[in-house]
Every structure is written in C-alpha cells, then in structure tokens.
Symmetry: C2
Subunit: 196 residues, 2 copies
C-alpha cells in the first residue's frame, strides 16, 4: 500500500482502496474542479470525517490516487536485444498511459490553478521509468550493443513526450507501427545505434 507523505491516520486497506478508486473514477468523469469530497464519500461508502482524518484535502487525495496508479507500471523485460527491449518498454508505457489518459486530462486545467498538482503529476507519472530504462541500457552495454552507458533520463524524456503528444494532442493510436517508428527513427538514433 503506498505511503502518502501526509499520512495522518491509517485506514483499513479495503476502505482506503475504495476511497482511492472513487477519487480516480470522479477525476476521470467530472474532473478535478468538480470532484467533491461529498461524492467521494458517497461512492466509497465512507464518512467525510474518515476521509479528512486520512488526507488533508483534494491535492493530497489526488496525490495518493496517482501514486496508487503507478503500481501497475510494467516491468521492462529482457528480450535479448536493445531493439527488442526498447520496443517492449515503449509498448508497456503505451498501455499504462492509455489507462491514465482520462485522469491526466482532467488534471491539466487544474494544474494551471494549483501548481502543487503539477509537481504531484510530475513525481507520480512523468518522472517515472528512468531507473527501469537505465537497466535496459546497462544490459545493452553488457551485451556489447552500446559502447558506453547512455543518458536514460533524456531517452525517457523523449519517449514519454512523444507518447503524451500522440495520446493527448494528435489522438492517433499508440499502435505497434508507431512504437517501431519511435524506436527505430528516434530512440536508437539518439543512442547512436542507427543500423536496423
């Protein structure tokens, strides 16, 4: 069970899960601004007093809900080649972020009004995956596919930016031909691995 930095009182795990599920549902359905604690309490069959004993307010509740979402971040498999690993990683990220899209979309407008939400989104959604990607690159160095360990942070920055741009703005599908385009035309050239 994830720890919120502002943990005040522990709840029964099933109760806490029900509340976090209600928050995620409401974020996706009505957005951050129109999400009310009353409605969270109603859906989770919890009292408002219970909710306020556990979280200090909406930003804190949303942070916990986002943190919980990160649990389903996929492990990055060892496919035996850098190209295979990158395709598997990008495909895994696509599936996770497709699921997060309604919540992220609902937070975008709220972030402008409350910058603390932007920091939470950054911490729980945007800046994840660097450790896992660094392991992918280390494996490629060990195999002799990469000359030296490359910059996993920039690689993740570029991969996620392309993913979110396609998901939120262009609206085109996160399908396999697109994943292969990103790996072969962007990520591998960035790593200096240009041959197919």
């Amino acid at each position: 069970m994830p720890q919120s930095p502002a943990t005040q009182h522990r709840l029964d795990p099933a109760r806490e899960t029900a509340i976090l599920d209600a928050i995620r549902e409401l974020l996706a359905e009505v957005g951050y601004d129109r999400m009310s604690i009353d409605e969270v309490a109603r859906r989770a069959r919890a009292s408002k007093a219970t909710i306020y004993r556990r979280w200090s307010g909406k930003p804190d509740m949303v942070a916990a809900a986002l943190h919980g979402l990160m649990i389903d971040h996929p492990p990055l498999p060892d496919t035996g080649s850098l190209r295979g690993d990158l395709i598997a990683a990008m495909t895994g990220f696509c599936r996770v972020y497709e699921r997060k899209q309604p919540i992220v979309l609902s937070l975008l407008a709220a972030i402008r009004a409350d910058p603390s939400l932007g920091r939470l989104l950054h911490e729980h959604v945007l800046s994840t995956g660097v450790t896992e990607t660094a392991a992918v690159l280390d494996r490629a160095v060990a195999r002799g596919e990469l000359a030296a360990s490359a910059d996993a942070t920039t690689l993740v920055e570029v991969g996620k930016a392309l993913l979110w741009h396609r998901l939120l703005l262009s609206g085109e599908p996160l399908d396999q031909p697109w994943v292969i385009h990103v790996v072969d035309d962007v990520l591998r050239p960035l790593l200096g691995v240009a041959d197919r």
Copy 2:
C-alpha cells in the same frame, strides 16, 4: 485573410476579425464545451445569423480561429550554423506555443468528444513547421554541416512533442537553458551531429 474550407459567405474583414477574436477569447476563458454562439455574437457585436451565414457550426468556427493563430508562426532565421538555426527555431516555436497553450488546453477535452476537432488541431497547430525546418536542414547540408538531408518530419515531431509535454504536463518554463538542452542533447544527436 485565411480561407476556411467551408466558406459560405464572406464577411467584412473587420467584422470577421472581431468574431475570430471573440472565439479565441472564449475558448481560452470557458473552453470549447461552454463556448456559446450567443456569447460570441455578443462580444463581437454581430448577429447569430451573420455568424451562421459564414460558418456551419462550432467546429468550423474553431478551425477558422486556429487557422488565424498560425499567421504568427515565426520565420526561421539563417544564423549561419545548424546549432544556431535550431536554437532560434526552437525558441521561436516556444514563444508561439506559449500563446496557444490556453486554447489548446481548452480543446483537449473536447477532442475526445469530437474527433473532427483533433484533426483540425493537427492540421493547424501540430503538423506545421516541417517545411520551415526542412529549409534549416537544407542550409546545413549546403554548408557541409550535415552529410545528407535528414528527416525534418521526425525532427519536428520530436521537438514539438518535447515542447508540448513541458508546456502542458510538466509546467516547467520554456526557457533558454531548456531549449539548449533539447538542441544539444536531442535534436543534434538525432541528426548525427554529436559534437558541441
């Protein structure tokens, strides 16, 4: 004056500008869903009949408003080097997209409900700049800085994705250190120009 594909009746240019300005204001203030033709008419001091003679409906009006926004797309200057050109181009894009951010944000939720808006956003905002960037790359080839003409489409895709990701999601500033990071750590390595 931009031509809308669904042009039905021409308006007096000053009147048309007032209506498009009202559309852009309302998109940024209340969003696509809550933008009413009544309010557009009130702000532009035009009749609804006038508006409906010119545009078939909200998607068509928004397309014209987005098209008008593209007029301020910056020319990409010849600074004498590929690195200088890329920094100037990325800086110019940053200034333009900072101004578009409220409108794009207001359209994001509407795009899910009306895919035709996504196509309009793509046509008028996302897929622009490739011709200008191809000219930047052609100049670099002519100077002997690039071995062969590189793929301007992928370069624009990556640059814009990083820009929108930072502008909409991470909320960090589109400042000069970040522009230089993008040019030196992403765009030039993608072009195979790795030395500083």
